[in-house]
Point group: C2
Chain length 210, copies 2
DNA sequence: CAATAATTGTGAACTTAGTCACAATTATTA
DNA sequence: TAATAATTGTGACTAAGTTCACAATTATTG
């Protein structure tokens, strides 16, 4: 294991994949698994998995493989999904609303505790169990609740302003659905849906010529 | 320019970013732009942009920069967003519904022409202008319409089956929101929302220790 | 028109990420 | 218990991706 090192981004993303895969194996009642098996399920090389895990420790048993339950627990701690995360959503449009109702997040311990919008006509309406609040109430809300993660699901032109507001409130991380590069020092994860469609369009266009 | 080459994935994704950035510049009325300016807006190196573009040709003028309007058109052709794409959505849950109403897609010429679900209680209901159809009607629908892209927004356990169905119908590309690795030869773009949250959680956890 | 300034396009150098290959370890079988 | 088979963890190697640095080009200024 390499101590105290910067972990490459691709490794971090794959940790999530491993976690997902191991949970499936667990549900299938499998107790021990070899890196080779995980690899074939995920369509990657087994050495990749072993190397990725080696950033964090030695979790396997030579000649045997990994204990599924144990490795899940280890990954939970490494990734940080052994705890609950409080999440707020800024922007109650299509994407914001979909996220509030999306069961996947709650299942992974990302609890949405508030939804905010600048549009006063939306304020007071309910999405699932949550009532849409006006963005001006955010500051007050932040005093009463610990907010760790914020989702930006506002139009592009409002995204930077929202980011700066969130920074002031001491939010620890942002998931950004707006198609802009945010200028901030907080960790940001970009989820750009139309960008994915464009990437796909490009690939389709190249399919023939390969 | 390097002819007939495989284009690295990161390059493809950045093309989309450049396209987005150039459109903003165009809206701001800027006629010529230097790679340095685009770079600073996107938080990357200018040499990166120049090298990326060099895969496809020489679009700039030395000492001057790039003509914004011209480069937009070039990128449109390269990416493939100079044409309209017909898209169907499989799965009328939170995410599927959000996408139907999401204006960003239509704006980028990805036209959603059908929504399908396996749940008969949803069939007949409307999302925006579209009526949810039962998945069994997909085959018939595909005979009457050209479908190029399908979005998989069904639960994990149904995703692989749907994929195989789509493959049979000759769909050209898939945007996959289900948290599984799809086994297929069709180009797939993964959009894994909870994976993004997990990656963010990991980064937040490391913030202090850097 | 010569000198200056700006900026591209790209080969070379460098950095990061991924794969190989094998000693070390564990379990199983004869 | 010795031989065999499976599988990890990792250093060395290979590949992929990024940045540097500079000749080539264009526009502008005196």
């Amino acid at each position: 294991m390499k101590e105290d090192q910067k972990i490459p981004n691709p490794v971090v993303r794959r940790l999530g994949l491993y976690y997902r895969c191991l949970n499936k194996l667990y549900d299938e009642g499998i107790e021990y698994v070899a890196s080779k098996d995980i690899a074939s399920r995920l369509g990657i090389k087994s050495s990749q998995i072993r190397k990725d895990l080696s950033y964090f420790g030695e979790f396997g048993k030579r000649g045997v493989g990994y204990n599924v339950e144990n490795l899940i627990k280890k990954l939970e701690t490494i990734i940080g999904v052994d705890k609950n995360w409080n999440v707020i959503i800024i922007g109650a449009g299509n994407i914001g609303s979909a996220l509030v109702n999306y069961p996947g997040l709650k299942k992974e311990k990302f609890n949405i505790i508030g939804v905010f919008d600048a549009d006063r006509s939306k304020v007071g309406k309910k999405i699932g169990k949550l009532t849409i609040q006006h963005i001006s109430q955010l500051h007050e809300f932040a005093k009463k609740n610990i907010i760790e993660i914020a989702v930006i699901a506002v139009p592009e032109n409002a995204a930077q302003m929202v980011t700066e507001e969130l920074e002031k409130l001491g939010i620890k991380g942002i998931v950004n659905f707006a198609p802009v590069k945010l200028r901030t020092n907080i960790p940001v994860e970009e989820v750009d849906i139309t960008l994915s469609f464009k990437t796909l369009a490009f690939k389709i266009g190249r399919e023939g010529s390969r």
